[in-house]
Amino acid sequence: MAGAPKSHHMSNELDLDVIVVGAGHAGTEAAVACARLGARVALITSALETIGQMSCNPAIGGVAKGTVAREVDALGGIMGRATDLATLQFRMLNRSKGPAVWAPRSQCDRGLYRRAVRSLLEQHPTLHTVQGTVARLLMDSKGMQVLGVETLEGRRFGARAVVITAGTFLRGRIHIGSDTQIAGGRAGDPPATHLAQQLEQLGLTVSRFKTGTPPRIDGRSVDYSRLERQESEVEAFDFSWSHFWNAQRRDVHGKTRHPEQMPCWITFAGREVKQVVQKNIDQSAMYSGAIASRGPRYCPSIEDKIVKFPDVDRHQIFLEPEGHDTTELYVNGLSTSLPAAIQLEFLHAVPGLEHALMTRAGYAIEYDYYPPTQLDSTLQVKSLGGLFFAGQINGTTGYEEAAGQGAIAGINAGLRALGRPSLVLGRETSYIGVLIDDLVTRGVDEPYRLFTSRSEFRLTVRQDNALRRLAPKAIELGMLRDPEVAAVDGRLSDESESITIARQTSVRPSEADALLKLAGASPLPHAVRIAEVAKRQGISLSDLFAAAGVGSILSREAVMTAELEIKYAGYFERERIQADKLRRMGHLALDPELAYGEMRSLSYEARQKLLAARPLTIAQASRIPGVSPSDLQNLVLETHRRNGLSQTCQD
């Protein structure tokens, strides 16, 4: 048997509840989640120095992703805290499109981020970090249950559950141009091949994706006079609530915990870049045929942009600082797999980069992933007890997507090891819930990235209310310490109190008129409840509170959330009704053993897709591509018929 231990007598160096393999954004969150549950966990990585490495662009957050970072934080994760300690530029995206879709994003200092992650991990007494390359999984004699891992160095560790977060390391292959191929999991790091072979032998289906990075340049060689400068937003923003828990508010003693802010620089790839790329397209690893696997549509290489959108004259480029301790810049927007010499040639065609020195060449990387329909909603491999997958190994892209999966895989691995019931987040509770549900029911056909449009709950699942949505679950599972629980309660009651005050307190015309005039609104005829006035366009709740002299001790963030809830109550309510409808549909359980193959009422394609995915609810079935509305109809009826529940046929 492939996974059977070589020697049954060799003893384990440590016996743990959970082992996490890989210490990127998924692995570190998985390990922390286990530790918070009280499980003993080992985090095994090939190089302790690269724990928390940002392998691609140096930024956390963005649309939907920023919300995930805050969700991970609400579950006690570390991504938000590390970001707050490493941020060097902050922007709130979508500011003009209404606060419901605001999306926080921070550029980070790579070094500070890495160090913050490692020190946050080390605060957990039951979390051990181990340097080593996992060579194989230890399995029980039937090959059905994971018992631990063995490293290339010959160290053995026993565990009740193993979480694999291998990122792009499984059989990773780096391409720079059509001729240069290097085996590697990330520039400068070797790939993992032994584990990849074993996983395939265990009967898991494996597939390949590719992703890419742009070149990086020396900032001293840039002509900044030709660039547009983009400053950090003045308003300080915290991704994490943890700072309140520790009572270290940023305004304490007038000092901020954020590092000094740095600008980004904007330029563009114009006609000259286009010419260089077009002339050399046959040397691109992706366009010469050296890479056959699919890459993400949403993070296209410069080759893709130019070939697929030949009419676009300019593509924006952001030069992002790598950190305070270096002048190196990340050239966001020029991801490529062209040869290094061509990369330099098109860099020099970019305004401001005419004399740029390239510190690192961009590259494309191909790696193994395991189609995630092989997992259940807890991210456990369906066919192997105790084995969990999280992150890029599941075909996703992005730090935040990895972190969200890591948290859930870690929680469930920990719960399983401790003999406790599992946790599944519904789509209506979080973007993490949407992400995992999409992965395990729909699968992926390109690297999966989150968007607001993937969620049915864009308005009620927001970055500002992550704590209310998820912290109660973390508390229920015992993942938060007492002072943290108190801080969460305080923050949430501030929110409720803001709404109560707004509904019960009236503001007088003399108090509000200056504000209203500023917003171009008509003056009040008489004293009116604050909640009513706050519904007006361009009037903020905190300004009204200040004018009426109330609520000054309430947290600023809580008042903002309350404002949204007051202003758009009707809309949020509608979305909640839709959520209820979905939940009801979600509760319509489907037997995982259902004989789809025999259901003649379903189309052939639907039968195949349902057989592969084996959804647990009608709601999941509805999101499987290839399952048409009429298939779904028939599935609902079939289920009712089998359950003998329905009472709609009237005689």
């Binding site: 300019r314 968007f451 864009r458 009422s601 298939d631 028939n634 018929r641």
Partner: protein, 456 residues
């Protein structure tokens, strides 16, 4: 209330109306359909789709019941998608009942109304709107209704509604794109693009919604009321029009007692012809005016035929009716074969039609005038355009329409960011999904099938 019957059992029903007739058809569907028929007929042949003569006997005492024709269908190539059989027995009250009883004894169960079609839906042979169309074809009281139902059975309405749903989803996607890709090269979404797309959608929904009036008219027929003094020949006109319009139904279900009704085709239009003549039981009749018609009918009329067999009576009828109805009033000079004042009344502002129920003269002209009025009110009948023929359809499309208008109003004056107003779009999509049966299918199915007859 019954649970949804399973597929595991085999159902049977008499599919033709009860009463004296040459033949009656009994249908069976289900996994044991063939086996059950084999138990009651000798000889039994399972040759598909070919009728053969056999003997049907009581399975208990072997007594001969009838010599029927049997046709066998094998699933999935059948109406329900299951194994089926059709047995044509002699009609009347006794034979079909005895034959059905024999099949029940042999293991079949009596079908619920609409259960055959329900199984066809469950087996993927048709969608919900098509199932509704089957009911409508059976109930069709006019050629126009029949046409509309056939179009719906063909999937015309499903395609139109699905296309509208897709367009709303596209608009949603446009807004989502703007939120999801704030830093893209093509810059922020121009409000004009949203405005144009919305206006276009509102227009499309409007035009679909407009078909509901025609649809309703097609379903129920335009109400044409015959009014006039006693003994001016209204009943003769009624009967002559029925003959002319080849009445399909003269005994409408739910007919009120104060009038005779008939559903006839007048050109492209189905017409529900009402004659209140000679019925004096209701107090509503405007007898004091000397006109035989109730206020109630005048209010509901689409067209009133004001009749008189002399200029005086005709004038009287027109005057008295016109003040009491919003519908167009067509003067009809009855007993045209006796008319002598033809030349003088031809100069009226609305020249009366001179009709002879006796010779049939003028009926063609009257039919033409009725069509002109209906076309003026409802527009040309466009053939094969999908119509909203049921209140369920109208309600869903009207809701989607309203939601789009709400969306337009919410974001256009800047009261609500477009990202939030987009909730309206989702509600609109949901309404259309309910219509074609993407969600809420249980409830919809229950409603659809509750009006079906047994045996379909």
């Amino acid at each position: 209330m019954q649970p949804i019957p399973g597929f595991d059992d085999t159902i049977a029903a008499i599919s033709t109306p009860p009463g004296r007739s040459a033949i009656a058809v009994i249908r069976l569907t289900g996994p044991r359909a063939h086996e059950i028929v084999a138990r009651v007929v000798t000889p039994w042949r399972d040759t598909e789709r070919s009728a053969y003569l056999t003997a049907l006997c009581d399975p208990v005492n072997g007594e001969l019941i009838d010599r029927p024709l049997v046709t066998v269908y094998r699933g999935p190539a059948s109406y329900t998608g299951e194994d089926m059989a059709e047995i044509s027995v002699h009609g009347g009250h006794v034979v079909p009942a005895l034959a059905l009883a024999a099949l029940i004894t042999a293991g079949a169960r009596i079908a619920h109304p609409g259960e055959f079609t329900r199984r066809a839906v469950l087996n993927g042979k048709m969608d919900l709107l098509q199932a509704e169309a089957v009911g409508d074809i059976i109930d069709a009281g006019s050629r126009a209704m029949h046409h509309a139902a056939l179009n719906q059975l063909d999937g015309g309405l499903t395609r139109r509604i699905s296309a509208l749903r897709e367009s709303i989803l596209e608009l949603e996607a446009l807004i989502a794109y703007d939120i999801d890709f704030p830093g893209e090269d093509d810059g922020p979404l121009a409000p004009q693009r949203i405005a144009t797309a919305t206006a276009h959608l509102v227009g499309s929904l409007d035009s679909v919604l407009a078909t509901s009036e025609t649809g309703e008219l097609i379903r129920g027929g335009a109400t044409v009321v015959i009014a006039g003094a006693p003994n001016v020949g209204k009943s003769s006109l009624f009967n002559a029009l029925i003959g002319y319009g080849r009445a399909i139904v003269t005994d409408l279900p739910g007919t009120t007692r104060d009038a005779l009704e008939a559903l006839i085709d007048v050109g492209e239009w189905p017409v529900r012809l009402i004659d209140t003549a000679g019925i004096h039981e209701t107090s509503d009749v405007i007898e004091r005016l000397g006109i035989e018609v109730s206020e109630q009918w005048l209010r509901r009329a689409d067209i009133v035929l004001a009749c008189g067999d002399s200029t005086e009576l005709l004038l009287q009828a027109v005057t008295q009716v016109t003040s009491r109805t919003a519908a167009p009033v067509l003067p009809v000079r009855t007993k045209g074969e006796l008319a002598s004042e033809g030349a003088s009344i031809a100069e009226w502002p609305h020249p009366p039609v001179i009709v002879s129920a006796h010779t049939g003269a003028g009926l063609a002209e009257l039919s033409r005038r009725i069509q002109v009025e209906l076309t003026e009110k409802h527009g040309e009948r466009v053939h094969d355009a999908p119509l909203l023929t049921r209140e369920r359809h109208r309600h869903a499309v009207a809701l989607a329409h309203q939601e789009l208008i709400n969306f337009e109003e919410a974001w256009h004056n800047g009261a609500v960011p477009v990202s939030i107003a987009a909730v309206h779009l989702r509600t609109a999509t949901g309404a259309l999904e309910d219509l074609i049966g993407i969600v809420g299918v249980e409830e919809v199915l229950g409603r659809v099938f509750s009006s079906f007859c047994v045996g379909k």
